[in-house]
């Protein structure tokens, strides 16, 4: 779409035209399909800040499987905060799939992330080829997205990944990505990834990205998890090199390698059918400064389906330059007849506030209603004190309509039905 490629002297007119075209396109795709498969959702959100103009937001989502081998989806938002009108296309894709999965192709605007390639939103394509013996070949390419229809330069990204499954339990992959900005290489990485499930109770995953432009490890992460009845233990570790994560065209990428390393563990215990306890702790080495962070969280579901829940979280971060303690409480209670009440409170206190206030409280209370035919209405009050503002308060109202069933955004609770 031409409207995504360059800036315009008439951004508002362009935005309206572009949003209309995008949504019309998505609707057109959807209307060509069987009615049962069509899934559309529209959200309208209005929020009011005490002294500022109201802000409005409309989010349109749609997906459809036109045939078993073709599907499309779109996510578009447009917002207004007087006198400005803005918006963006987050997703607009068409997916083609060979019925048995040998080849799959995705084209449009989407987030590419595979192997050790960092997530990048692109306008482009992604092709995957698979073989029954566990081989996978991927290739992708496109133009990195410029938010909100901003001007483009000569940027592009391309890469691929080859992976092989070994002995049904291990997958090994090698990936490569190159990205250019204004014709110059801004990132060139070679990555390796591993996933293994040698037993039903054990999962291991890891990846590492090696910077080819300024040679060295840009990022590495690993995680090993063990499950045993109501317990789950996870060991994790990571290394990040901030200078290598910056584009190689940035002046700040030449300052040298001062990686930060993290090593920690998380444990989850289902103490009772409706009670989960989680704890996590990690030691960190940030450029020679030692410290750590940890949190404890408990969640009590109010019924077996996890419809209502109460939760409490305590968190402590103790690193040079970042020492703070936080507490967060959540509550969601079904009131019956489709009504829900929910509330969330967080208080953060920095050890060295440096004139930014003793504590930064944040709270939200919401009342929502959901009908059986897809309508949702929610109203909320949000109030907070931040390092910059003594207090601020918002009122938020959301009206949503889902055609073809509700959009699943996240599981409600572990006992709410699992495979």
């Amino acid at each position: 779409m031409s409207c995504k490629t360059t800036a315009s002297r008439h951004p508002r007119r362009r935005l309206v035209a572009c949003a209309a075209t995008t949504v019309a396109g998505a609707m057109g795709l959807a209307s060509g399909a069987g009615a049962d498969a069509l899934r559309l959702r529209a959200d309208a959100l209005a929020e009011t800040q005490g002294t500022s103009s109201p802000t409005g937001l409309v989010v349109l989502q749609g997906q459809d499987a036109i045939r078993p081998w073709i599907s499309a989806e779109a996510l578009v938002w447009a917002g207004a905060r007087s006198p400005h009108l803005t918006g963006d296309v987050l997703v607009l894709t068409v997916r083609l799939r060979e019925p048995h999965g040998y080849v799959e192709a995705l084209a449009g605007r989407f987030v590419i992330a595979t192997g050790a390639v960092h997530p990048v939103q692109i306008d482009g394509g992604h092709v995957i080829g698979r073989a029954p013996w566990g081989s996978t070949v991927e290739a992708f390419g496109g133009l990195p997205v410029v938010p909100r229809f901003g001007a483009r330069s000569y940027d592009w990204i391309a890469g691929g990944r080859v992976a092989q499954r070994v002995a049904d339990t291990v997958t090994l992959g090698v990936s490569y990505v190159q990205r250019r900005e204004d014709g110059e290489i801004s990132s060139e990485e070679l990555g390796a990834d591993l996933a293994a499930a040698p037993a039903r109770w054990l999962d291991v995953a890891a990846f590492g990205a090696y910077d080819l432009e300024n040679p060295g490890i840009a990022e590495a992460r690993a995680s090993a998890a063990v499950r045993c009845n109501d317990w789950r233990f996870e060991l994790f570790g990571s290394q990040l090199s901030p200078g290598r994560l910056l584009p190689a065209t940035s002046l700040f990428s030449v300052l040298g390698d001062m990686p930060s390393q993290t090593m920690g563990a998380t444990v989850r215990w289902r103490a009772a059918p409706r009670l989960d306890l989680l704890a996590s702790g990690a030691g960190q080495d940030v450029a020679g400064g030692l410290g750590g962070n940890g949190w404890v969280r408990t969640t009590l579901r109010l019924d077996d389906r996890g419809n209502g829940s109460l939760g409490l979280e305590l968190r402590r971060v103790d690193l040079p330059g970042a020492r703070w303690t936080g507490v967060r409480a959540i509550g969601a209670v079904p009131l019956g007849k489709g009504f829900w009440y929910s509330s969330e409170i967080e208080i953060v206190a920095a050890d060295h506030p440096d004139g930014r206030g003793v504590a930064w409280p944040w709270g939200l209370s919401a009342l929502s209603w959901r009908s059986r035919d897809g309508w949702q209405v929610a109203g909320a009050l949000e109030a907070s004190a931040t390092p910059l503002l003594r207090y601020e308060a918002y009122a938020l109202v959301r009206l949503s309509y889902a055609l073809g069933g509700p959009e699943t955004t996240a599981p409600r609770g572990p006992s709410s039905g699992t495979r």
Partner: protein, 345 residues
């Protein structure tokens, strides 16, 4: 003595109350169906679930009717319908959803297991809502589905995984600190994630310019949704960024900071400098090496000329490269090398 007795009574009552809240003991009237009691009386499953052994992959769920119960329970203890108390409504809903979402044929399986329902429904005696259906691991006990797994071809059993929206319990566990964990888990199997998750779900967090449409911003009432940026993130984001240098860059571009700060009037010509007195001649170099992303957040792009002014070759700022710095770039032609190496003192 009386004090201890009173305390004991209070604790007992509290525990009893907690047992209900924690899900250890279920409240009346509905409770899990007493499968164990029926099995112990040697009642075959198909005596109540009539014709389930001949059921195809469509049709109704084979729950017993009131009349079936009363064939044995001729004088029930209550006039109300049995299902009001015996068996939880949720279990029926799960079974009905599974009927609609899974392609499963009891008829073909009954022969293979010789009529032994418990081969698959092994946890039925536990009578917990989450054990009403066999786990996928149970299916994999007989069916390897190796090729289908490799080809991400789930349609043989699942009608529409994206529509199903049921989190996996015994494989690909979405548990504990999954927001942190999901990146490394997805690295080797992003296409597997895509068999359930839509592109929208990735872009809702990872896309450029997504902030207005973040899932938890729209889902006002879904306080249990996890996410890095939720609750009072706006207040604590400088602390979060300092605690894990570079982590913001894994999703955000270097200009994200200054773009947002300019919109919110935090940065710009009129804003005060966030640096302490003596910053330039003090620790700015050491801090820049620890977290160059923070520097780039404000001084990136055109702002780099500020650094070049002092750190160009022969400039008063000296060599900015850290120990062991290497690069394949051409110092006289490539960006950013030429900014300093391409100009004279």
């Amino acid at each position: 003595m009386r004090m201890r007795f009173t305390l004991g009574v209070v604790v007992s009552i509290a525990l009893a109350a907690c047992a209900s809240v924690l899900g250890i003991r279920h409240d009346l009237p509905s409770h899990p169906f007493e499968h164990r009691a029926h099995v112990l009386k040697a009642i075959n499953c198909v005596e109540c679930h009539a014709d389930v052994d001949r059921a195809g992959d469509t049709g109704p769920v084979h729950f017993p009717s009131e009349a079936v119960c009363r064939q044995c329970h001729e004088k029930p203890h209550d006039d109300r319908p049995c299902i009001l108390c015996h068996g939880e409504p949720y279990v029926r809903q799960v079974a009905e959803l599974a009927r609609a979402q899974l392609r499963f044929d009891h008829l073909r399986h009954m022969g293979a297991v010789h009529g032994d329902c418990v081969r698959c429904h092994s946890d039925v005696a536990e009578a917990r809502p989450e054990t009403v259906l066999p786990k996928m691991a149970t299916c994999f006990g007989c069916h390897e589905h190796r090729d289908q797994w490799a080809m991400r071809d789930c349609n043989g059993c699942h009608v529409d995984l994206r529509d199903e929206g049921v989190p996996p319990d015994d494989h690909l566990v979405h548990d504990a600190d999954f927001v942190r964990e999901h990146g490394v888990r997805a690295a080797s199997a992003r296409d597997l994630c895509a068999s359930c998750h839509t592109e929208r779900q990735c872009a809702s967090c990872h896309g450029e310019g997504t902030v207005p449409a973040l899932p938890w911003k729209l889902a006002l009432g879904e306080v249990s949704l996890s996410g890095i940026h939720r609750a009072g993130f706006m207040a604590r984001h400088p602390e979060e960024a300092r605690a894990d240098p570079g982590v913001c860059t894994t999703c955000h571009t270097e200009s994200s900071c200054v773009d947002c700060h300019t919109r919110e009037n935090v940065a710009g010509a009129a804003a005060r400098s966030p640096h302490p007195p003596g910053w330039v001649n003090g620790e700015h170099g050491a801090q820049a090496r620890i977290d160059p992303v923070s520097c780039a957040g404000c001084h990136g792009g055109a702002g780099e000329t500020l650094c070049v002014g002092c750190h160009r070759v022969g400039g008063p700022g000296g060599n900015p490269h850290g120990p062991g710095f290497t690069s394949h770039k051409d110092v006289h032609h490539d960006v950013p090398c030429r900014l300093c190496h391409g100009v004279g003192p």
